[in-house]
Amino acid sequence: MVKQDSQLLKIEDLVLHFKVGKTGVVRAVDGVNFNLGFKEAVVVLGESGCGKTSLAKAILRLLPKNIEKYSGKVILNGVDTMAMDDETYRKEIRWVKMSMVPQAAMNSLNPVMKVGEQVAEPVVVHSGASKEDALKQARKMFAHVGVPDQFIDRYAFELSGGMRQRSAIAMALVTAPDLIILDEPTSALDVLTQANIFNVLKHIKNEMETSFILITHDIATSSELADKVAVMYAGQIVEVSDAERFFHEPLHPYAKKLMASVPKMRATVEPDFIVGQPPSLLDPPTGCRFAERCPRRFDLCKDEPPVEVKDGRTVKCWLYV
């Protein structure tokens, strides 16, 4: 890969709105900005319904039909992919430069195809390699993610959950993309399997030239991979920070509350919880979207807060203006 920019991925004012019913508009992704460096992992943290999966789909342009608005910039290694037409995007970007491990990936494998062939398929489709070469490549990826060689000829139902998850990761890796988006990669797995998968991801990050976007609601496990953390709330990114300082002390009140809600195994502090519910994305409030649940809200919060930069961390909150 030739570096044509200082950042691998730049997302500028990305918007994805869905149509519902006759007049309703769900503002799932509502003006998202963040950057991702080379060989870096960013974690997108958020509760269910905050738009984090829609963000992944907007980045990879995997869109349903009921789109109301899709705009902004997704600049990958200096190239604005939003300017491409669908066919070029499919041929040159998706699964070539960016791939994805979807949510519940272990259940998304084709039940009537051997896993090895499934993992090899993107190579055949995208680089026109012969099936033998593709299978060879797949075998290499299986070794990377820790699936024993004999599993390559098996069907998905013959594999355990952890093995299926590893195969899905191998499938995303096989074309050697610059960026992999992982959507809740371990949420359906057991603790030991989960820890094993994170060991695999760390290994890939150290050995290969790959960046990650990890989408999750689980703060504790997200710290296993994060270089950078982006906190999402009601369709917007409210804080972006390096992992070191974020896990030490988050800035945004929502991030603070979220961090305080994590039960810790050996600490004696009582975990806290956030009163109320996130706003509806059909009709989000004007002003700060967290204001209604925020313990530190004041007069200014009725207006939309600006995005402020503090020592390289960005935070969208009136407290830091």
Partner: protein
């Protein structure tokens, strides 16, 4: 290949008079040498072995005590729970509630038993019939298990909704499950478990499907209810970081057996079984330093419960295996202190 059919089988043992069993005043539930096996069928009728889901589990639960059963999926914790609820029949061993063996109960007693045990399911949405509103969901247990007038039922429903803190109550009564958020759904499921005023609550991963910010709220609610009504609670989970918040003792299960049992504090700070150590190592607290190190945990998968490994069931994955012993003999429970037992040869 053998076709799996999950019909629990029961084998009649030598008769034990129901009354003579340990009638301790403070003992609510006692599990004695419980084995739950599921028969595998070949072509629908031939016998093809058993799935040894629960293989010799013993414990007592005092009145108002709360315990946690921790283990990975497939370790038999749900089979154990279903046997306690009377859904599965044990092949060997007993579940004794208030001095009565539940597998020997008459239908009338079973009805009483079901009113004494509340069940909180893992997936609140899947646990509620989508075509029933909240009023109907909450009155159903009372219609089936108790003689009550509609007025009494309405009163009880209001009271129980107050207990689980859904306000305003009148707004919730006509709602259907899909109109509620995840946290509210789980509250209704808890209300349903509480509606018959049970003495024992079995909670199967009650918070694993909820968002982080709601999880703690639901755990607090459960703990308050437990303290207020002096309930026995069996909390089943795979998440060690939440057990501390309302359990006194932990039982760690692996492949159908309890491998370690201890008080919560003792288990978290002085874990003994290699499997418990692995579980603790795999559970992370949020810390940026996590990203820089690989986790030291055994690879591999839990064994098949159809042909469990001989000796200690953890030995194929165990980093501290004693050759010639662990793969031959089943380790008995060794006592570390009176309330801390571990089934591992390292503590011989």
């Amino acid at each position: 290949m053998a076709k799996t059919k999950s019909n629990a089988i029961s084998v009649v043992e030598e008769a034990t008079p129901v009354e003579t069993m340990n009638l301790h005043a403070d003992k609510l539930l006692s599990i004695q040498d419980l084995h739950v096996w599921f028969e595998l069928r070949k072509f629908g009728f031939g016998h093809a072995g058993y799935v040894h889901a629960v293989d010799g589990v013993n414990f007592d639960l005092a009145k108002g005590e709360s315990i946690a059963v921790v283990g990975e999926s497939g370790c038999g914790k749900s089979s154990l729970m279903k046997t306690i609820l009377g859904i599965n029949k044990p092949i060997k061993g007993r579940v004794v509630f208030n001095g009565k063996d539940i597998s020997k109960m008459e239908p009338k007693d079973l009805k009483w038993y079901r009113s004494q045990v509340g069940y909180i399911q893992q997936d609140p949405y899947g646990a509620m019939p989508p075509f029933m509103d909240v009023t109907r969901i909450l009155s159903e247990p009372m219609i089936i298990n108790s003689k009550s007038t509609p007025e009494e039922r309405d009163e009880r429903i209001k009271k129980v909704l107050e207990e689980v803190k859904v306000f305003p109550i009148e707004d919730f009564l006509p709602k259907f499950p899909h109109m509620l958020s995840g946290g509210q759904q789980q509250r209704i499921v808890i209300a349903r478990a509480m509606v018959l005023e049970p003495k024992l609550i079995v909670a199967d991963e009650p918070v694993s499907m909820l968002d982080a910010s709601v999880r703690v709220e639901i755990l607090n609610l459960l703990r308050n209810l437990q303290e207020k009504y002096n309930l026995g609670v069996i909390y089943i989970t795979h998440d060690l970081s939440t057990v501390r918040y309302f359990s006194r003792r932990i039982f760690v299960m692996y492949a159908g057996k309890v491998v370690e049992q201890a008080k919560v504090h003792d288990l978290l700070f002085n874990p003994s079984h290699p499997y418990t150590l692995a579980l603790l190592a795999a559970t992370s607290d949020p810390d940026a330093a996590n990203a820089k190190v690989y986790k030291d945990i055994p690879t591999g998968e839990p064994p098949s419960l159809i042909t469990p490994p001989p000796g200690c069931r953890f030995h194929p994955r165990c980093p501290r295996k004693i050759a010639g012993l662990c793969e031959v003999e089943v380790p008995p429970d060794f006592e570390i202190n009176p309330e801390h037992k571990v089934a591992c040869w390292l503590y011989k």
